[in-house]
Amino acid sequence: MVFFAPNLAWLIPALPLLGFLISAFAGKRLGRPASGYLATFWVFASFAVSVLVLLGLLGMEGEHRRALVPLLPGGSEVPWISIGNFTVNYQALIDPLSMLMCLIVTGIGGLIHLYAVGYMAEDKDFPRFFTYLNLFIFFMLMLVLGGNILLMFIGWEGVGLCSYLLISFWFEDIENSKAGNKAFIVNRIGDVGFALGVMAIFATFGTLTFYQADGKGFLDQALLKVTAHGDLTLAIATTIGLLLFVGAAGKSAQFPLYVWLPDAMAGPTPVSALIHAATMVTAGVVMITRVSPIIVQSYVVMNTIAIIGVFTAIFAATIALTQNDIKKVLAYSTISQLGYMFLACGVGAFSAGMFHVTTHAFFKALLFLGAGSVIHAMHHEQDMRKMGGLKNKIPITHLTMAVGWLAIAGIFPLAGFWSKDEILGYASGYPRFGMILYAVGAFTALLTAFYMTRLMMKTFYTNQRFNEADLGHGHGHAGHDDHMQHVSAHDLHDAHDSHDSLDAGHAGEGGEGELAAQDHSHDSHTGVHESPWQMTFPLIVLAVLSAVGGLMGTPWANKFEQFLEPSVAPASLYEPHEGLPLLVGLGIGLALAVAGILWGLSVYNKHKAAGALLTDEQRTAGTPLGSLYRGSLGLWGVDRFATFLGIDVGGAFARTMAWIDRNIVDGLVNGVAGAAGISSEMFRRVQTGFVRSYAWVMLLGVCLVVASLLWPILSHH
């Protein structure tokens, strides 16, 4: 048999699955760090296979870069489900999109595994952590490789499960467990949409396979605008598209289903980086890109995706402006960036969306891992108000994070610059309301640059606002204290108060009182330390990728777009317009990024005496910004509303139903039984217990019977 690299594809998910099984059954025996290194090995092995398969794919002719290969060892074709003509085979779709995602998932996933070996080194559940991580990689690969949409759904729900398991990894804190539940349940809402979309696809096209060699896959059909029953009408395309988008919005944290993602930061930081920044949350974009031939058939769907996307982008950015928890800033930033990706999908720029998925995976994983390194160094302190001045204490972390900062802000020529501006360029060319989309998106870019600068300033550049001697104390369960500050307006005061009392004697210690920090800047016996090599190595690799990764897709030589071409809907299906001239777009993008950074620098510059002493709250108090600040800090009330709706209203409804069940539905049943009881209570009085009265009744009965028998005879006479 001729060697055909895509036939190796079954190994890609199989290796992490093997790793999962080994970890699950023998992880404890392997102990740490061996179990962690072994888990890392499987992911990198999978990466190696992915590279092999990719090389095989590149060897194929451009148009035919697509293969449907068995996903079981030895190429066996065993159907998962086969009922009538509903057949789902274990098959992988090997094409540029799936291979791109395989590389991201296994590549970045491997780095994060390595990072976690260092980050989790002290954790008593070390093997369990890697068991879950390997399982996650397996499901994520199923998601991106699945040859039909139901296999994708396996991965889809599977990563949701792993996300749940990893968010609530430190389950002894009930808040983590609640955050995990929230993530799973909100994701499930989206999953229902996805599942209904899958059903609609089968009902419409009679198959769930994406592409088939005989051209009968549902995307093959959609490209020709036909279904199993006739033409693919706008109504059908709209229904399917919207249902699938509900699924994508759940998984990729789009408004209003984003509420789970900030809470998901309760998980260990490597999890936040891997699942809640680089891979899983982008699954929605991958899925929409995968089914793009259907999406582009309906302008309703495209409009919806574009509007929700751009709204999520700006909405989340406004929240990110004011958060004090370093991971929460990054979480809202992730939501915002995901909004950009959906904006891209909505305007038909699927390749640009995937490009942003890729670059975002680089720089957001970098930022999260950097944040994890900071948290590690700070002995699990996440509040940026209690940081500052870390620039020289953790230099590698600082430098790599700075690359990520500039990349996400969109500074030339780093990765974010290219991908973000490509999206905005396409948005400006969207036929219906492109310029509005562009304007909102561009303004979001300004906000992005600002809040990332704020994060960097508060963490690294402003003066130190903590007492190193206190680090590591007051945290009863050190080693797993990533849990979130549940920030709301009044929490802020609590934080200040507790901090003040903790550091009594340090004037102006609350918030950003930077003068006081001078008192303890002597570093001789510092509690702050740079992270081990397992953590810094991935940071460096990701920093390099964030710096140069964007060069894959420059507007002049867009290798990336050409590579993805076989996987996305051809532009001919939706006819994009000319948008802003290229250089104008790039120029405005760069200008906004620089402006945002300068704005941030000026607000948080320690040399600017007047503002420096103030917290964000004090700074905005009394100005029109004050209420905006509080609104943003309070997450614009969305979380509170969601909690009210889900917990209070839902709980009351459930309790009412339970009451009805007990008292009305079952009450009726018991009522019937009760009625029988009451009637027998009445009739039992007849039983007096006197034998002779029974005899009298009997005589009476006999007389009646005899009389009734005689009556007809007598009455005849």
């Binding site: 065993v78 159907p79 998962w80 489900i81 086969s82 009922i83 009538g84 003509n85 509903f86 139901l150 759904f153 396996i154 889809w156 729900e157 599977g158 499960l161 749940y164 609530s168 389950f171 002894e172 804190d173 009930i174 983590n176 467990s177 995990g180 539940n181 799973f184 349940i185 499930r188 809402i189 999953d191 229902v192 599942a195 209904l196 059903m199 609609a200 089968f202 009902a203 419409t204 009679g206 279904t227 199993a228 029953h229 009408t233 109504a235 059908i236 709209t238 229904t239 709980g651 409804f653 459930a654 309790r655 139903m657 339970a658 069940d661 539905v665 079952d666 009726l668 049943v669 039984a673």
Partner: protein
């Protein structure tokens, strides 16, 4: 004996009964609870966990236990022979026993036989019975009677799934109630008498109406034989010739009995009481097998005998099924008692089964049978696990637990698997059943997009109540000292759970292995209904949509 000999079926059905009769000859063991009540070995409070350690060796009781286990194991092995001898490609009933005249003056015959649906349900019965006997080794009081009732119950349930004569079916159907009544009433918990009586009377009230229906059918057609009644040239033709009102009443009398057994909203209230009060094995059998008798009844009698009525009234069943899915899940969420929570989740899951049945599509019906089996596996597993927790703490209150994941990691892993199967995560059995049901209902002319969307909200709700329970029981700090020294699973308990886990993933990853047995019986059902679609179409105002098994109707 050749594998295809029909007498395997007789053996599978009656071997447990024979075992029960032999058990009568065993010496009655001393109650072990009494033994330590007299101060033999028991040390109060210490060793709350696995009970075997403090139990005096009771040879008589152990002889009974191992004998019962042996009987159920042999029965299970024989039922596997059924599986290997079964020809999936052959239509009609296989392994037919009889008909032998039983009450010849009324043409009542002893007549057994199975098709693919019966086969899977019988396998489920024999399988869960083995595990139930094994789990019931912890029964200390009146072991002999307990095992006898368990084995008699097994015979009655198997008989229900393979009887081909209406009277024989009815006898088995009612016979199931008797041992279960005693299992709940004697070995149950605090409120057991109330629950046992409620369970008995409620389900009995429904099935008496079915008896009236059976007698009426005999009067009208002169036959009790299901095979004859399915034959359009025989009694089936005479039955179909009855006027529509009569047929509707007959359909109603059968349906009511089955609806109560399933149970469908609003006839479900016996279920939580019976589940909560029954001993663990009783709950497992109740949820795992007895509820399936109801769905089986629909598949075996209501749909084939009254196809037009079934379609005409399908809207009622679909409505009640969807209400049941949502209602069961919502009520489950706020139950303070774990068993009650699982019981209400059964109401929700069985709603899916009913939705699949009344979608009249191949996918829906196949999914319904799969979901019946799956529910037996996953809910059975959940009940076993709750029973294990009960043994350790003597409470089922969710609030009494917390943080168990640290104390009993293996138990909590098994619990998580059962939970995931119950919330229908892909690659577990629950997903295959639920998805095919929803897909079938989506494409059914009787349901369509709206009802399917409503039903699929059950996917979210099941995640809510299950995860919330998991959160409260297994996560958080271990704040109750009695939970801290809880013992993890014993070998016997693992032996109960591991086969269930295997099935969870076997069904979940390779459903085709099982669905091939269902193709022909389900096609027979859809063909039965399709042939009458033109009729029912007029009645229900629905156009005929092709005559293949699956209706491809684009319903955007």
């Amino acid at each position: 004996m050749p594998v295809s000999s029909p007498h395997i079926l007789t053996l599978v059905t009656f071997l447990p009964l024979a075992g029960a009769l032999l058990l009568l000859l065993f010496k009655r063991p001393v109650d072990e609870e009494d033994a330590h009540a007299h101060g033999n070995v028991h040390i109060e409070g210490a060793n709350e966990g696995v009970e075997e350690h403090r139990v005096p060796v009771n040879a008589a009781a152990n002889a009974i236990r191992y004998f019962a286990l042996g009987v159920s194991l042999v029965t299970f092995a024989l039922s596997v022979l059924l599986l290997t001898g079964f020809k999936a490609g052959q239509p009609g009933f296989q392994f037919e026993v009889g008909p032998y005249a039983w009450i010849s003056s009324y043409h009542v015959n002893f007549h057994l036989g199975i098709d693919g649906i019966s086969l899977l349900l019988i396998l489920l019965t024999t399988f869960l019975s083995v595990l139930s006997v094994l789990f019931s080794f912890n029964i200390k009081r009146r072991v002999k009677e307990y095992m006898i009732f368990l084995l008699v119950l097994q015979t009655a349930m198997t008989g229900v799934f393979c009887a081909l004569d209406l009277v024989l079916f009815y006898v088995f159907w009612e016979a199931v109630l008797i041992p279960m009544y005693f299992l709940i009433g004697i070995w149950g918990h605090e409120n057991r008498i109330y629950a046992a009586i409620k369970f008995f009377l409620y389900t009995f009230a429904g099935s008496v109406l079915m008896l009236v229906g059976i007698v009426f059918i005999y009067n009208a057609t002169g036959s009790f034989s299901l095979v004859d009644l399915l034959n359009p040239a025989g009694a089936g033709g005479r039955l179909a010739a009855q006027d529509a009102r009569t047929l509707s009443l007959l359909f109603g009398s059968f349906s009511l009995a089955f609806m109560i057994k399933v149970p469908m909203f609003p006839f479900h209230t016996w279920l939580p009481d019976a589940h909560v009060e029954a001993p663990t094995a009783g709950s497992v059998i109740l949820a795992g097998i007895m509820l399936k008798m109801g769905t089986y009844g629909f598949l075996r009698f209501c749909l084939p005998l009254f196809p037009n009525q079934a379609m005409q009234y399908s809207w009622i069943f679909i409505t009640l099924a969807i209400i049941g899915i949502i209602y069961g899940a919502v009520v489950a969420a706020v139950q303070p008692d774990m068993k009650k929570l699982v019981a209400y989740s059964s109401v929700s899951h069985l709603g899916f089964v009913m939705l699949g049945i009344f979608s009249f599509t191949q996918l829906g019906l196949t999914g319904a049978v799969l979901q019946s089996i799956n529910h037996g596996v996953s809910t059975g597993m959940l009940f076993f696990l709750v029973g294990m927790l009960y043994e350790r703490r003597h409470t089922r209150e969710i609030a009494a637990f917390g943080g168990l994941k640290r104390a009993v990691p293996i138990l909590s892993t098994f619990f998580l698997i059962a939970l995931l199967s119950s919330v229908a995560l892909p690659l577990t059995n629950g997903f295959v059943g639920e998805f095919t049901i929803l897909q079938g209902s989506f494409m059914s002319p009787f349901a369509g997009f709206g009802p399917t969307a409503l039903a699929s909200s059950g996917m979210v709700l099941s995640a809510i109540y299950m995860l919330w329970m998991f959160q409260r029981v297994f996560t958080g700090p271990v704040d109750k000292p009695e939970n801290r020294r809880m013992l993890d699973l014993s070998l016997r308990e693992k032996a109960v759970l591991v086969p269930l886990v295997v099935l969870v993933f076997w069904f979940g990853c390779y459903a085709t292995a099982w669905t091939r047995f269902l193709t022909l019986p389900v096609l027979a059902l859809t063909n039965g209904t399709n042939n009458n679609t033109s009729n029912a179409g007029k009645v229900a105002g629905i156009e005929k949509a092709g005559h293949s098994g699956i209706r491809l109707s684009a319903r955007p």
